[in-house]
């Protein structure tokens, strides 16, 4: 039953989210440094009395388990605390930024999957041909180039040599006129960051698709399809790809966490106003509540993505759909 599976998975997910919260909370508190110092530092020259009063105000003088309990209780109600640095509720900061990150991540992922599988299928048609070798070379380059390096190279190229795409920010106030103009402008700004983030995964998906296609193409049911008189295009596009795409779904789901963390780098390089830049700034400012909140949110995103992957896999593979 699909519904039962979803409910069961949701229950697991809630347990997982709580575990993530607890673990992150404890990890942050294991880190050296006193948050009170940070808060006081912003104000300047703090005496022991000031620090004590700050600890009292923020509940930092309580035992760790009490702090944890208070945090969890508040989190259950949607309150992730107050940012020391921005002096605003963490949840508001995150909700402000999460859309930009999701837009970047899903565009990059969509680009990687669509272009990657297409290249993989083309490469599998002639596994020793020029196109296939070209795809292999592009894949190796894309896979081995670090994200920040690719980003910086693109910035250099598109800032001075070919000023075709904007290299920073998400939109340009002077160009975003009306909702349509805004969308177009955001899309224009999205090109370079999404490409930078996507190219690594595109490389992997094209290799994976090529290997997976070659394996599927050698199977007996492909011979059956040919014996039925199915055209080569349909043999590849319908009979083979439907089977070859199964490992891609699995890998894409598993890598989703990696893509989100890759987004931190890309956002920093391109000054994209998402969770990544927020995380980067919060870490520099030692803004613990914000860091905790971002970690929590990215965990939730990854868990939800895995849930969706699982469901997608069920749709794509009847053998899993039917299994208990």
């Amino acid at each position: 039953m699909l519904l039962w599976t979803v409910i069961r998975r949701l229950i697991y997910s809630v347990i997982l989210v709580v575990a993530v919260l607890v673990l992150n909370f404890l990890l942050i508190h294991l880190a050296p440094g006193d948050p009170a110092d940070v808060i006081a530092g912003e104000m300047g020259g703090a005496t022991e009395e000031v620090l004590a009063s700050i600890r009292k105000a923020y509940g930092l003088d309580q035992p760790l388990y009490v702090q944890l309990w208070v945090y969890l209780k508040a989190a259950a109600g949607g309150d992730l605390g107050q940012s020391f640095f921005y002096n605003a509720p963490v949840i508001d900061l995150i909700l402000d930024r999460v859309g930009a990150t999701l837009l970047l991540v899903f565009t990059a992922l969509g680009f990687a999957i669509v272009v990657g599988t297409t290249l993989g299928v083309i490469a599998s048609r002639k596994p020793t041909g020029i196109v296939s070798n070209l795809v292999t070379v592009i894949s190796v380059i894309g896979y081995s180039a670090p994200i920040f390096w690719t980003g910086i190279m693109l910035i250099i190229v598109f800032a001075s040599l070919i000023p075709l795409f904007p290299i920073s920010n998400m939109y340009d106030v002077t160009k975003s006129v009306g909702p349509f103009g805004y969308a177009l402008d955001v899309a224009h700004h999205l090109v370079l960051p999404a490409f930078t983030l996507g190219i690594v995964y595109l490389a992997q998906y094209s290799r994976l698709t090529r290997a997976s296609m070659l394996e599927v193409l050698g199977s007996d049911y492909i011979r059956t399809a040919r014996a039925k008189g199915v055209s080569e295009r349909k043999v590849y596009g319908r009979h083979a790809l439907r089977n070859a795409v199964l490992p891609i779904i699995t890998i894409a789901g598993l890598q989703f966490g990696g893509i989100v963390s890759g987004a931190v780098l890309v956002e920093t390089v391109f000054n994209w106003p998402g969770l990544g830049t927020l995380a980067f700034d919060s870490i520099l400012a030692r803004d613990y509540p914000t860091i905790l909140g971002i970690l929590f949110f990215s965990a939730v995103i990854v868990i939800v993505a895995n849930l969706i992957t699982d469901l997608l896999y069920r749709v794509a593979d009847p053998r899993i759909r039917m299994a208990k």
Binding site: D220, K228, S231, A316
Partner: protein, 330 residues
């Protein structure tokens, strides 16, 4: 009337160790409503003959070097890819030896049968589906309407082979090629599949090329039989001729290898016979008869020249120097 005529086809495979002649001037004829058995050891070219007829010889490395294949008088060799695709699944259907893996796991069996119908006939989705259900019923699958919505993994091996037969016969082909259709199945299921093939052949008049190494199946089903060895046909004739009066030493050996159930086993049981030696590598065939190194009746001529099929008056043909010499002496 001859439906399918394989005329002197030669298939070569380019291998690292040189050219392998996989099929060496193979001739076959299948008449309307007839079952032709092709028997021989693994690697003798049975399946390659089938793939040649289907136009599915993997190329590269394979290549149909010469010869013709006539389907109702029309030469299939040299047809364009599109023309050949129109013939596959429509005029010639094929079933394979691995029913467990021959069906696409992500489509229902009904979809897979209906696809064949829609490829070759101008049928609506609904009509194609109805034909699929009807075909499932015809191949003896109970609750066909329900089963059509099943995925392959939900069916047993025997059921899957029935589905394969339904796919192959969905467009009412003139010829059905069955490439070891029961090798992967239980004995009882084997018998069911053979019965089904026989019944369908009778009710639909489809000519069947039955590729097998099961002599029992040939005896039960086939009208005529061709024995292959190392890419050549070494003996052909009616089932009665070949199985009861085998001429070629290889055929004799094959028949002697078949184990028999004896109701009262004698005290001293006889060991099961085997043909000594192994099938020669196709890249290292000499000028002589390929079977000569394993043959207990080999003559001096056998290693020097390749024997050709010599037909006796009753249609029984053998390619063997020893047999030829014997028949001349009679």
């Amino acid at each position: 009337m001859t439906v399918l005529k394989v005329d002197n086809i030669v298939v070569d495979f380019a291998t690292r160790r040189g050219n392998a002649r996989v099929l060496d001037h193979v001739n076959l004829e299948v008449n309307e409503g007839e079952i032709l058995g092709i028997v021989g050891e693994s690697g003798c070219g049975k399946s390659m003959t089938a793939l040649s007829i289907m136009g599915l010889v993997p190329s590269p490395p394979g290549n149909l070097t010469s010869g013709s294949i006539y389907l109702e008088g029309r030469d299939l060799v040299g047809l364009s890819k599109d023309e050949m695709r129109e013939i596959r699944g429509n005029e010639i259907g094929m079933i394979f030896q691995e029913p467990m893996s021959s069906l696409n796991p992500v489509f229902t069996v009904g979809e897979q049968i209906a696809e064949s119908v829609r490829l070759h006939e101008n049928a609506s989705q609904r009509a194609a589906w109805e034909r699929a259900v009807e075909m499932l019923r015809a191949v003896g699958i109970p609750e066909a309407e329900v089963r059509a919505k099943s995925y392959p993994h939900q069916l047993s091996g025997g059921m899957r082979q029935r589905v394969m037969i339904a796919i192959a016969l969905a467009c009412n082909p003139r010829v059905l090629i069955a490439d070891e259709p029961t090798t992967a199945l239980d004995t009882t299921v084997q018998a069911q599949i053979f019965d089904l093939l026989e019944e369908l052949q009778k009710s639909r008049g489809t000519a069947i090329v039955l590729i097998t190494h099961d002599m029992g199946a040939v005896a039960q089903l086939a009208d005529r039989v061709a024995v292959m060895y190392a890419g050549r046909i070494v003996e052909t004739g009616t089932v009665e001729q070949v199985l009861t009066m085998p001429r070629h030493p290889y055929t004799e050996g094959l028949i002697a290898c078949v184990p028999h159930l004896q109701p009262d086993p004698p005290e001293k049981r006889e060991p099961l016979l085997e043909i000594p030696g192994v099938v020669p590598s196709l890249t290292e065939l000499g000028d002589g008869c390929a079977f000569a190194p394993r043959c207990n009746r080999a003559l001096a001529t056998c290693t020097g020249r390749q024997p050709v099929l010599k037909t006796e008056g009753n249609g029984h043909a053998t390619a063997c120097w020893a047999v030829e010499a014997e028949l001349e002496n009679v």
